[in-house]
């Protein structure tokens, strides 16, 4: 798949150089593929996603509107916020959103990735994501079973002591 992609890139360069010759030698018309993204040709769409930055053992995410096919950390269309996954001294994970621009991009048909959707749900801009609720329930259930197990262990120890 990567081979095909690099082939396509190479073909595009080839096309641009070849057209200079063809217009003089042959009478065929070579159209210059001038638009940068060529939406119909490449079929990309805009996404709102997290772009990773920071340093070793210190991640930091920027909430970014970018085209789907572009690399995760490279060029983006616009930055819409940030997310710091490590809690600070007050035990808070800081998130920033530019709601106006997020509204604009969603109106233009941008998709959101799962983590961004979860964060927006927690912020109140979107409804709460189903997985957030489900994970919270799972954690509560696990905590309950742990409690029950601890109680039972205590009871057993008490009986043994007696």
């Amino acid at each position: 798949m990567y081979l095909i992609r690099s082939c396509m890139v190479f073909y595009k360069y080839f096309l641009l150089t070849y057209s200079l010759l063809s217009s003089t030698e042959y009478l065929s018309v070579m159209v210059h593929l001038s638009s940068f993204l060529l939406k119909k040709y490449h079929g990309g769409h805009v996404v709102i996603r997290l772009a990773l930055g920071g340093a070793t053992n210190r991640p930091f995410y920027r909430i970014v509107a970018a085209y789907n096919k572009w690399a995760r950390d490279s060029k983006y269309i616009e930055q819409l916020g940030s997310y710091d996954p490590l809690p600070n001294i007050h035990n808070e994970k800081l998130v920033a959103f530019n709601y106006e621009r997020i509204k604009y991009w969603i109106a233009c048909g941008a998709h959101t990735t799962k983590p961004v959707a979860k964060l927006l749900g927690l912020a109140g801009f979107f409804p709460l994501h189903p997985m957030t609720i489900t994970e919270a329930e799972r954690r509560q259930k696990a905590a309950l079973t742990e409690e029950v197990k601890m109680d039972r262990q205590e009871q057993v120890e008490q009986k043994e002591a007696l």
């Binding site: 690099s6 233009c108 329930e137």
Partner: protein, 208 residues
């Protein structure tokens, strides 16, 4: 066996004819479809992760609701944006903007006119002052010239009178003989002596 070129980032041309040294990255541990399975994994049957059916049903319901709300939100935002764009380009916002701009233009033009008028007045005054000053200078120059002329004439007249006075004593061919006689009769002695204190002695030894 293991395809070393499974993940290469170089373009096609360099792949086919690598003129430089190692261009290609090898990634350890990735197998393709045709590679044989490892001995430790021969009896392994891959199963999907276990799922709680009750939870799954609840989750599916939640997802349908979530997607419905999201779709509604998307359409809502789209409508808002279109409305805002319309307002800005065609509707009330555009009208207000044009009105404001016209008002601004009018006030600016008025300011400019007032400024021009003020500058015009100042300029008129300045021109008047300059004209008066020039007039004054011209008059004074004329007076000065007149005075110069008069003084020149006076000087020349004085010189003429002086010359006339001197002309009376001139030696002419008429009284030439008379003057020679006179000069020979009265010899004049211009010699004198003077010492360091400045005493002048006109009577000298050479005397006729």
């Amino acid at each position: 066996m293991l395809r070393a070129l499974s993940r290469c980032h170089a373009p096609v041309v360099r792949l086919l004819s690598p003129r430089t040294a190692v261009l290609v990255e090898t990634v350890r541990g990735r197998k393709s479809r045709t590679d044989p399975i490892a001995k430790s994994k021969l009896g392994r049957i891959k199963t999907p992760p276990p799922v709680d059916p009750v939870e799954m049903v609840v989750l599916k319901e939640r997802y349908t609701e979530y997607n419905l709300i999201l779709r509604a939100l998307r359409l809502e935002f789209k409508e808002q944006m279109l409305r805002k764009k319309y307002e800005e380009e065609v509707g009330s916002v555009a009208e207000e903007r044009t009105k404001r701009e016209a008002e601004e233009h009018r006030s600016l033009i008025a300011l400019n006119d007032a400024e021009n008028l003020r500058m015009c007045k100042i300029r008129a005054q300045r021109m008047q002052k300059e004209a008066e000053a020039a007039e004054l200078k011209k008059r004074e120059a004329a007076i000065l010239r007149q005075q110069e002329l008069e003084s020149y004439i006076k000087e020349k007249e004085r010189q003429i009178l002086l010359l006339q006075e001197e002309a009376k004593d001139f030696i002419t061919p008429d009284n030439l003989d008379q003057r020679i006689e006179e000069a020979l009769d009265n010899p004049k002695n211009y010699n004198f002596a003077i010492d360091k204190e400045g005493r002048v002695v006109k009577r000298t030894a050479f005397q006729q």
